[in-house]
C-alpha cells in the first residue's frame, strides 16, 4: 500500500511539473495540459486500482480499459514519434487479440524511396468473374454483415463507357454477350479531392501515392465519401463483423487493421502487401490477368509498359483528379 501511495505521489509531482512547464518566451505552456490531465487521471486510477496483470490471451479487463483509454487519446499517426507508433501498435495488437482470440501483426512499414504505385486494368480481358472482389474482402478484413466491397465490376454495353447505364450487381453467367467489364476501386488520385475536404486531417496521400485513412483520427463526417467522384470510399455504419478465423492477421496500421463503427475506409492498393513488394490481393486473384500493378518511377516496370505501349484512358479525366489507375485494351 505504501508503495502504491508513493507512486501516486510521484505521479502527482510529475503532473504538476509538466503542467506548469514554461516556454522560452516565459509563457506557461498549456497546450498539452488537457491531454496531460487525462493521462494523469488514467495513471492515478491505475495506481489506485493496482496494476493489472497481462494474461496470455490478450489483456485483462482492466488492461483493456486502459488500452482503450490510451487509444482514445492518442495523436494523429503522422504526428506520432516512432515510440508512440510502437506503443499504439502494441496496444492495438493486444486489443485485437482480446477481441478475436488470435494474434495479429500490425505493421507501420513506411513508403519506399523512389516508388510511386500505379495500376492498370485491361477492359478487354476482364470477364466479370469478380474473384478480385472476394479476394479483396478477405484480405482487407471488411465487414461481412453489410458485405462491404472496395471493388465494383461494372457490366457495360459494348461501344461506350457509361457508368449510369451499367450494372455492378449482375448475377448471370459471365461474360455476357455484347458486354465488357470495367472495374472501379480507389484510383489513388495524384490530386485527391477526398483529402482536400477532410476537416481533421485524418486522410492524406503517402509519398508512394497511396491515400490512406487514420481510422483512429477519422470523425466519420463522410465529406470524403461525398467528394470522391469515383465512389471509392466506404463508411462503417456498424462495427465491422468478421468471424475471428477469417481475420487476416497480416495487417498495416494504415491498411487492413480492424476498423470500428463510424469511420471511413478505402482501398489502399493493399498497403500491407504492396509495401513489401507483393501485388495487391485483387491482382493476385484475377484469373484472367486483367490487372497490372507496379512502380510508375521504374521505366522497366510492367505498368510503364502498359502506359507507353497500349491505348489507355482514365475515368472522368476531365475532373483533374489525375488518377493513377489506367484502363487499357488489347
Amino acid at each position: 500500500m505504501t508503495t502504491r501511495r508513493r507512486r501516486l505521489a510521484r505521479a502527482v509531482r510529475r503532473f504538476w511539473r509538466r503542467s506548469t512547464r514554461t516556454t522560452p518566451s516565459g509563457a506557461v505552456d498549456k497546450a498539452m495540459s488537457r491531454r496531460e490531465a487525462l493521462r494523469f487521471a488514467r495513471d492515478a486510477a491505475t495506481i489506485a486500482a493496482g496494476a493489472a496483470v497481462a494474461t496470455s490471451a490478450g489483456c485483462s479487463r482492466d488492461e483493456e480499459t486502459l488500452a482503450k483509454w490510451d487509444e482514445h487519446f492518442k495523436g494523429n499517426f503522422r504526428l506520432m514519434t516512432d515510440r508512440e507508433k510502437r506503443e499504439t501498435i502494441e496496444r492495438l495488437e493486444r486489443l485485437a487479440r482480446t477481441k478475436i482470440g488470435r494474434k495479429v501483426h500490425i505493421k507501420s512499414t513506411p513508403a519506399k524511396e523512389g516508388v510511386l504505385y500505379g495500376y492498370a486494368f485491361n477492359i478487354g480481358k476482364c470477364k466479370g468473374y469478380r474473384s478480385c472482389v472476394e479476394a479483396c474482402k478477405k484480405e482487407n478484413n471488411q465487414d461481412r454483415r453489410t458485405d462491404m466491397a472496395y471493388i465494383r465490376i461494372f457490366e457495360m454495353k459494348n461501344g461506350k463507357v457509361d457508368l449510369e447505364d451499367s450494372t455492378a450487381d449482375f448475377s448471370h453467367t459471365v461474360p455476357a454477350e455484347g458486354h465488357f467489364y470495367l472495374g472501379t476501386q480507389c484510383f489513388q488520385c495524384a490530386n485527391p479531392p477526398c483529402v482536400d475536404v477532410c476537416p481533421v486531417g485524418a486522410t492524406w496521400q503517402e509519398p508512394d501515392g497511396i491515400t490512406v485513412v487514420d481510422y483512429d483520427w477519422c470523425i466519420g463526417c463522410r465529406y470524403c465519401e461525398a467528394a470522391c467522384p469515383y465512389w471509392a470510399r466506404r463508411f462503417n455504419w456498424n462495427e465491422p463483423e468478421i468471424a475471428p478465423a477469417e481475420v487476416n492477421a497480416n495487417q498495416h496500421y494504415l491498411g487492413n487493421r480492424l476498423r470500428k463503427k463510424g469511420v471511413m475506409e478505402k482501398c489502399t492498393f493493399c498497403i500491407q502487401r504492396s509495401r513489401e513488394g507483393r501485388n495487391p490481393a485483387c491482382v493476385e486473384a484475377c484469373p484472367t490477368g486483367a490487372r497490372v500493378f507496379g512502380n510508375l518511377l521504374d521505366p522497366n516496370s510492367e505498368i510503364r509498359y502498359v502506359i507507353e505501349n497500349k491505348k489507355v484512358f482514365r475515368l472522368k479525366e476531365d475532373l483533374g483528379t489525375d488518377p493513377k489507375f489506367w484502363y487499357y485494351m488489347d
Partner: protein
C-alpha cells in the same frame, strides 16, 4: 564448470539464430524481404519453390531477362511414347486422324481452330510427342510452350514480355516470374470458359435501385 559456462556462451548464437528463423517463418511478418529496388535478385517469399524456367529468345522491358512458370510439373498426362510408338500421320484428314483423336483423347477438347487450320501436328512434334514443334522445324519442351504460341499470337507475345498480357506472380518487385501461356489458357481450348460470377454485391445507392423504373 568453466567449460560448461563456455558451452552456454557458444550455444547462444545458435539459439538466437533459431529464434530469428522462427520469426521469419511466420507468414505474418515478412521482414526478410530485401527492399533495395536496384537488385533484380530480390525474391519474394511467395516465389519460393515455384518451378520456373528462364524465358528463351524473348526479353522483358529494358532488355531484362525474366522467368516463366514451368509446365511439366502441372501436366496430368504425359509419357506419350508409351502408346505413340510410331510417328504421327503427316496427313491426318486423309486417314481420319480426327476420328481417332476423338475416340482416344476424348478428354482433350479441340476448340483452338477448325481442323482444316490446325491439327495435332501443328503444335506437337510428330516424331516425339513429348516435345512441341516450332514453324522452323525445331522442337521445344512443354516448359517453353510460349515460344510456340507467340509464333501466331505475336502481339500477345509482345505484351506478355512487356507485362500488359499475362500475369506476374507474387509481386511487382524483384525477380520477375510470369505465368506461362498454358498456365491460364488451355492450349486445346484457349478461350476462358463462361461461369457464374463470385459473390452477390450489394449496391446500396443507385438511381436504378432507389427509383425502380425511374430514370432509364
Amino acid at each position: 564448470m568453466i567449460a560448461r559456462r563456455w558451452l552456454a556462451v557458444a550455444a547462444l548464437p545458435a539459439v538466437l539464430a533459431a529464434c530469428g528463423a522462427a520469426d521469419t517463418d511466420d507468414a505474418a511478418t515478412p521482414s526478410s524481404i530485401a527492399m533495395s529496388l536496384e537488385t533484380d535478385a530480390t525474391e519474394l517469399r511467395a516465389l519460393r519453390g515455384v518451378p520456373r524456367v528462364a524465358v528463351e529468345g524473348i526479353v522483358g522491358p529494358g532488355g531484362r531477362p525474366f522467368f516463366t512458370t514451368a509446365r511439366l510439373p502441372h501436366m496430368t498426362q504425359g509419357r506419350c511414347g508409351l502408346c505413340h510408338v510410331r510417328p504421327l500421320d503427316p496427313a491426318p484428314a486423309a486417314t481420319g486422324q480426327e476420328a481417332i483423336v476423338r475416340t482416344m483423347h476424348v478428354d482433350i477438347p479441340s476448340r483452338h481452330a477448325p481442323p482444316t487450320t490446325m491439327n495435332c501436328r501443328t503444335c506437337h512434334d510428330g516424331n516425339d510427342l513429348e516435345r512441341l514443334r516450332l514453324n522452323d522445324g525445331s522442337t521445344v519442351g512443354f516448359d517453353h510452350a510460349y515460344r510456340l504460341c507467340v509464333q501466331c499470337h505475336f502481339q500477345q507475345g509482345r505484351d506478355w514480355a512487356g507485362g500488359a498480357h499475362g500475369k506476374r506472380l507474387a509481386g511487382w518487385l524483384g525477380v520477375r516470374v510470369v505465368e506461362n501461356c498454358t498456365a491460364c489458357h488451355d492450349p486445346h481450348a484457349p478461350r476462358f470458359a463462361p461461369r457464374a460470377p463470385e459473390g452477390t454485391p450489394r449496391i446500396p445507392r443507385t438511381i436504378r435501385n432507389t427509383h425502380p423504373g425511374g430514370r432509364r
